[in-house]
């Protein structure tokens, strides 16, 4: 079976970078394969290009070079012939739900947006209510505004909103880094449950290796737009193939709880 998403030789740079005379690529010759119902973790630090990469895969920005194929067809073809269908099948959840949900809209209005925009119809209250229940929220929240909800509840709303149009791939861009530890665990469990229940293909962008280690069977390590490590998570993280991945694993270990009371090493 062909992979659901396939990217070959992707290169991208922001126009503003070129104007400043910066010739380097934000995304530089990236290959990527995503199988149906698989979970891929994309890790890297700020500026590594991980958020840019998923925006290219979703068709929100166009690569300068290379090709992205989704479900057997090129992304350009999708956008020309069935733009709305493509958008519905590729949904993103962003890092900060307070910024991704309009503060002036009720939860019901926000939830219904993708249905209105991509399916060109009016959402039915019962489907919105069911959408909230699926992410563990009470339908009573439909009439509330974002400021009346906690960060964890808002992120659940953002996930529910992405799912209203039955995507094939859910891209989650640092979905829990704005949340408290205990709420993170709840949202990550929810993503795992939804993935298994709906057969979703999940792309998880994160700087947190621990999250990838639990959720994503495959991982891609990005540094300055270049894939420096990729493969099965159990191999890549247990036996890093290069110094950068190793440094990330080491950094996670320094603030790990497994080490008991070992203080952070000075002078490294």
């Amino acid at each position: 079976m062909t992979p659901l998403v396939e990217a070959r030789g992707i290169r991208f740079r922001y126009p503003s970078g070129r104007r400043r005379g910066d010739a380097s690529w934000t995304i530089d010759d990236v290959d990527l394969t995503l199988d149906r119902a698989a979970t891929l973790g994309i890790v890297g630090e700020s500026g590594s290009g991980k958020s840019t990469l998923i925006r290219i895969l979703c068709g929100l920005i166009a690569a300068n070079e290379g090709e992205v194929r989704f479900d057997g067809r090129g992304i350009g073809d999708w956008l020309a012939r069935d733009r709305l269908g493509f958008r519905a099948r590729n949904q993103i959840v962003f890092q900060n739900p307070r910024r991704s949900l309009d503060p002036r809209m009720t939860v019901a209005t926000s939830l219904g947006e993708p249905i209105r925009a991509l399916e060109r119809r009016r959402p039915i209250t019962s489907e919105l209510a069911a959408g909230l229940e699926r992410v563990g929220l009470s339908p009573a929240l439909l009439d509330r505004y974002p400021h009346q909800l906690s960060g964890g509840q808002l992120q659940r709303v953002a996930i529910a909103r992405a799912l209203t149009v039955k995507p094939s791939v859910l891209y989650a861009d640092e979905p829990t880094s704005a949340l408290d530890v205990s709420v993170q665990a709840q949202v990550l469990n929810l993503l795992m449950d939804l993935r298994d229940e709906l057969g979703l293909t999940l792309v998880l962008v994160t700087h947190n290796l621990a999250v990838v280690g639990r959720l994503a069977e495959r991982v891609l390590v990005l540094r300055r737009g270049v894939v420096v490590d990729a493969g099965a998570t159990v191999d890549v993280l247990a036996r890093p193939g290069n110094a950068y991945t190793e440094a990330l694993v080491q950094a996670a270990a320094e603030v790990s709880l497994a080490d008991g009371g070992k203080p952070i090493s000075a002078g490294a």
Partner: protein, 324 residues
């Protein structure tokens, strides 16, 4: 050096913080850990005199032999710059975007020291070197947006230590940073605290970060210090149900073969959420999220006990020796 007794912070009818005792010895590093809304930040802010205007503080916060509770704002402001340094959470918001970095550090020196102009300049350069900004002189002329988040945080640390304080208060100083940058900042804080014998009060919701920096950890829930002990003790032998739940919920990267075993496994969670101000139950404030809660927890707030070297407030602690 810092000694807190019966500290109460009230907002309106609600007691936000109620801490019977918390001490920071000279040069010691103490962490406060808990979820958002647990009261850890407001405790730290209250010590620095930066609590919200509507908060009413009672009890005692002694710094050396001076009482900070009830101190005049002007005197407190002077202490805050000169003897207590404060590192804020979000460096981008804490720096003035329209002012060069060098001037902002110089400002901190002019306000909090008696140095003359020439000395201020020399000391500014020295501070930039102390916080490991290479080529210090070039940073003087840069604006905050021209440097990275990690470098901005270094500038704020330089400002916090400018007048040579004996206590540093850091409120989630690394949450906005990447892990490798975070660790460099943590290392810098540890080094500076060691080199200058500066005490540290470090607030974070990440237990792993706190334990890597601090000698001792206080776990806060509902504004109460529910457990306090050495970092090693708290992390390896937690006794309070809340501490052990926090440890369980922390995403940890398993090592080696454990990685394959843990793949696809759900995270353990703390049920429910921290209630809003005034929403905590009576008795033990954690009881409505606790699997071990009993009648007793509903009727009486737990009293403090000594649990093999650490202080604990729980009627039904995790058995000693039971890993979390």
């Amino acid at each position: 050096m810092l000694s807190i007794r019966d500290l109460q912070v009230r907002i309106g009818a609600h007691e936000i913080v109620g801490i019977e005792a918390l001490d920071i010895g000279a040069g010691r590093r103490v962490g406060l850990v808990g979820e958002s809304g647990s009261g850890k930040s407001i405790t730290a802010m209250s010590i620095a005199g930066l609590q919200p205007r509507e908060a009413v503080i009672s009890g005692s916060i002694r710094f050396d032999d001076r009482e900070l509770v009830g101190m005049r704002e002007s005197e407190l402001a002077r202490m805050r710059g000169a003897e207590i340094g404060f590192i804020p959470q979000d460096p981008t918001r804490a720096l003035n975007p329209t002012m060069r970095v060098g001037r902002q550090i110089a400002e901190a020196l002019r306000l909090n020291t008696e140095l003359d102009r020439g000395a201020v300049h020399a000391r500014t350069l020295e501070l930039l070197e102390q916080v490991r900004l290479p080529d210090a002189a070039s940073y003087l002329r840069r604006y905050p947006h021209q440097i990275s988040g990690g470098q901005q945080q270094r500038v704020l640390i330089a400002m916090a230590i400018a007048a040579g304080p004996r206590l540093l208060i850091a409120d989630e100083p690394t949450t906005a940073l990447d892990v490798t940058v975070q660790n460099e900042i943590l290392r810098l804080i540890v080094e500076l605290s060691t080199a200058h014998g500066m005490g540290l009060l470090f607030v974070s919701h990440e237990l792993g970060v706190v334990r890597s920096v601090c000698d001792e950890i206080g776990v806060i829930y509902g504004g109460r210090l529910v457990e306090f002990g050495s970092s090693r003790d708290i992390v390896t032998r937690p006794r309070h149900r809340y501490t052990s739940a926090l440890i369980g919920a922390a995403p940890e990267l398993p090592r080696g073969d454990a990685l394959a075993r843990m793949m696809g496994k759900r995270f353990s969670v703390i049920p429910g959420a921290v209630p809003p101000i005034g929403g905590f139950p009576i008795g033990c404030r954690f009881r409505n999220r606790c699997g071990a809660a009993s009648e007793q927890c509903a009727s009486e707030p737990p009293v403090e006990s000594d649990a093999g070297g650490h202080r604990l407030k729980c009627w039904h602690p995790v058995a000693a020796g039971d890993a979390a």
